[in-house]
Amino acid sequence: MKAISDKIKSIAAGLFDSGKIDVFIGWEGGPCDYAIRPYIARSKADLERMAFNEYAIHNSSNYLLKLRDGHEKIGIVVKGCDSRGVVRLLEDNQIKRERLYIIGVCCPGMKDPLLAIKAQSGLLPQRDCDNLADKCLNCLVPNPVIFDELIGEQQPPHMQGERFAKVAAIENMSVAERFQFFEKEFSKCIRCYACRQACIACDCRTCIYDEMRPQWVGRENSNSDNMMYHLVKALHMAGRCIECGECERVCPVGIPLMLINNKLAKDADRFFGPYEAGLSYVEGQKPALSVYRENDPDDFI
């Protein structure tokens, strides 16, 4: 990791020197390893604060949104999942490819800094934080899919077992059981919108939940409003979620949000595919549900 970190810094320094970039998105080191956090370096001098380690789990592409209205040329470090986030933004016309210089890191899998900080916080209950993060244990794409320069050895997928096993378990429930399951999960929701804010596919300038004229989704912390929030969000993710798992990771109450996103990925592939979101970028390319074909299935309408 130290080698990767040094390499990133030296590439970024060169990019600043040659004027290829004005800003650089990566991570800033903290008082301990898991205190690493996203960082936007504005100058070569800022690079001193940068770091990359086994806790650099945040989706770096999310920070492109902070710069989408500018003209800066941007250097960015991406892991496999982050690179799919970049594809998401390119497809959604949120940022132009020519503004980006992408340094890909073949990702060995990350640990979750949120579990780590919880583990030493003294707050209970705690979960094991020494393993790879859940989102990494479900990862099929550890290697960047879009980059200008690549660091590290190609990694095998970290996913163990059957990809849609958890989805299948839900699918096998009766409708009533399934409703009960999600009702219970969504009842925990505190509507903090961390899942939305951490989501790279949530790149709308004004989110439907912030829209007040008319107000589409109620703000009550109730089963119906919570469910409305999650279902509307889910449908906006269909064929767009790049499965980085950040929503589930950042949820302060532990709602298994990736279950829903995985199901949608599966269905987008099955009904409108073969399709897998954000695996490559071709100019003008659109997500599966942004394209209409006459033979699109419509039995469910």
């Binding site: 003294g122 109620g218 009550e220």
Partner: protein, 339 residues
Amino acid sequence: MKILAKDKVAELLEKIAQQAEVYVPMAIEQGSGFYPWTEDNKNQPLLLDALNVYNSPKYILFPQTERMYDLKQQGQDLSIDQTHEDSSPRVIFGVRACDARALRSLDDVFLTRGFEDSFYKARRDNVTVIGNACYAPGANCFCEAMGVDLTEPEADVILRDAGNDGYIWESKTETGDKLTRAVAEFLNDKETKAPEAKSFQTQVDYDGVAEKLKGMFEHPLWEKMAEPCVNCGACTYICPSCHCFDIQVKMWGDSGYRFRCWDSCMYAEYSAEAGGGNPRPSGVERFRNRFLHKLEFFSERYGYSLCTGCGRCTIVCPAGVRITDIIKAIKEVDSSVGL
């Protein structure tokens, strides 16, 4: 002194629960918080020995969604049928000093400065708070730096964990005395000693920060500090003292109710005006407002910081924002730079 033996805690809770709803720190699945002591919950692990729980007792006095009154519209007619002040008796058991301080800040907000909020007051007047003194601050704790005495939670009764001897039971208020009389059968007289408080692992110096911030509204530091923040509301909702709310309505046809619900200054919609303007248009202004409220504005208004040093925001922040770093940065920076 009065002692509550540890093996009597469940019985004591049982007794109190006959008269009031009792909230205790508990773990339920992956989460923890102050949950009602009910038949369903009794088997869950009680977390009196843990440093603290994720969800503070804030919601007991200030629920995330609180129905205020029922509305009915008929033609041009409009009526308010019923208001929903909730004055049922409640006991919150095992509150740490940071969270007790947060309750005091809610009291100051909702009950002073011109208006008494009747919905909050109805709940507050009927709540007894049993504190749980802290002697071993955790890795993210810094309550002492924010002016909180960890061993003296501002509560009606204070419990002090004296190990095998049980909890020392100290009544601090008339409300506490009343409760003490009601549970006298579970308290023994015995002399023992409360432990010595260990020192804090996180050192922060908040002295002078509120005053210094007065001249730092336009400081370039805000932009830098706000950079990792993704502007979700996790910190505000998990915070024991954040109290901003929205007033909303739920109508089905001609009838419904007006309710209030937690809101977060991190959301763009929070300060968006009807005409389309927004005085805090970007994440930086919202981030700045939140931390200034915690560290400066509240103390100008009420005389103490709104941050109680519980450390929860740092623990849940998806992007690793640490309020202690912010305090340190403010303390160290040249406040005139960039102005």
